[in-house]
């Protein structure tokens, strides 16, 4: 039985589901009788081609207006596929994220190499609509499909020596043509303090708008840390390492005075070359003014306590 999977680029703007309809459809699907036939067909698809129509909506989802599928998938910073905003959409078409495995190593009791499918078990995935704020000064609202990072990391039993978690993106110039230019030190590396990683907010996202991640959004699996600038939400992850010392993150290596390890969204701490007081909301008409940046991107309730007593101007 053949199933035609639409490439995101073939989807017309008129076909994009408004959020209200999208949420109503989810409710309907959750209430509808799941036919066993549908489930078995679904199981036959490889991980990267999956659709997830029956997911629960997370309590951490925001009510903010969700951006269109077109905006989310055609305006990306993913230098592995080119440095222009529309480059990843154009250049990642041939990227095949399957099969995919993730190596877990470092200060933990249960390291190993795992297939992506090992993490996508039934009941684990949920919808999380998160704000994403780029360090450049624009923001979007994205309906991710993912699972809690904390739940995943706990399975590897990090030891008391694990003070940080380091993530690494795939390094493969033939599959990621942007890596042929040394605009950044490849492979892309990011990291979190262990308590940040174990917070309830960060997720490993495997999809958006109820379907598997388009390549340009970090297929097949990426991190989403909604209270930090977007470059911390590392894409196409192949390695996770528990470390004792703070990881050397790629943007921090590129510009140590401009891109800090923490990079919490903070209107009071400017980038040396531009202000972070305001942000451009993608999707609003261009003649509308920018909006004020929110501390921790509006997630202070869940994460402010992680930084009690820390000078956030020093630890930017």
């Amino acid at each position: 039985m053949s199933v035609i999977i639409q490439k995101p680029s073939n989807i017309k703007t008129s076909e994009i589901t408004p959020k209200s309809v999208y949420l109503d459809r989810r409710k309907f699907m959750q209430q509808a009788i799941a036919s066993s036939l549908l489930l078995s067909v679904d199981a036959m698809l490889p991980a990267w081609a999956k659709k997830w129509p029956n997911l629960k909506q997370s309590t951490y989802s925001t009510d903010d207006t969700v951006n269109s599928f077109e905006d989310i998938t055609t305006y990306n910073n993913f230098y592995e596929f080119g440095t222009g905003k529309t480059d990843p959409h154009k250049n990642a078409k041939d990227f095949n994220p399957h099969p995919w495995s993730i190596t877990v190593e470092g200060e933990c009791a249960k390291p190993g190499t795992f297939n992506l499918e090992d993490f996508i078990k039934p009941g684990v995935l949920e919808d999380r609509i998160y704000r994403l704020r780029c360090v450049e000064g624009w923001s979007m609202v994205i309906p991710w499909v993912g699972f809690s990072l904390a739940d995943m990391l706990k399975k590897f039993e990090p030891t008391s020596k694990a003070k940080y978690v380091e993530f690494t993106t795939l390094l493969d110039k033939s599959r990621m043509p942007g890596q042929q230019r040394r605009v950044l030190n490849w492979p892309y590396v990011e990291g979190l303090r262990i308590d940040e990683a174990m917070n309830e907010l960060p997720i490993m996202a495997v999809g958006l708008y109820g379907e598997a991640l388009p390549n340009q959004n970090g297929a097949p699996i990426r991190l989403v840390v909604p209270w930090k600038y977007g470059f911390k939400s590392i894409k196409s992850i192949v390695k996770i390492r528990f470390t004792e010392t703070q990881p050397q993150t790629t943007w921090n290596l590129t510009g140590p005075s401009e891109y800090g390890f923490y990079s919490n969204v903070n209107p009071e701490v400017d980038h040396p070359r531009w202000s972070q007081k305001k942000e451009r909301i993608i999707g609003r008409p261009f003649w509308e003014p920018k909006r004020d940046t929110q501390m921790f991107n509006g997630y202070a309730e869940q994460v402010a306590h992680l930084y009690n007593g820390m000078d956030l101007k020093k630890y930017f």
Binding site: D71, T74, E136, W138, T254, R273, K277, R280
Partner: protein, 202 residues
Amino acid sequence: MQNPSNKQISFIVKPALFILCLVPFALLVLDAVNNNLGTNPVETLTHETGEWALRFLLITLAVTPVRRLMSAPWLIKLRRMLGLFVFFYALLHFTTYIWLDQFFDWQEILLDIPKRPFITIGFVSFVLLVPLVITSTSAMQRRLKKKWITIHKLVYVIPVLVVIHFIWSLKADYSEPIVYALIFSGLMLVRVYYSRKKASKV
């Protein structure tokens, strides 16, 4: 190639060039009206207007080298129009910043300009264009004589500032401003070559 007559230059070449120089602006307006400015329209407008200002700057600087290479001295008559279009696009770029980016928040703008080097140098480049525009008329040229030449040497300084402004607006990929820097260097080298040639003939 036969040189066009003064009448042909005034009534055919110049109007045609004027229309040509407005094409980038017309295309931007069309894109704005058709919602074709991409996902971040203000970013697109800022970038496009800035880039065209820089391109016209380099085109203006290319007039004399091309004049000499093609032995077409009449091209100098087109240079003023090209120079004024530099200011036209720079003004659009500056207006996009003041209006669509900052929404006339003068307090923020006045804080931004001295505090952020990338804005400072952009603002200085724009301000340095003003004396060039004011003294662009033939009457001014006649009145100022040698001083006019001194003022207009600013056109060698402004591209350097603009390229630095461009570099400082980027995060990591400097390939675009580097290309413009190379073109500017090339244009300067041609002038050096010709001035050496002239000096050796004396």
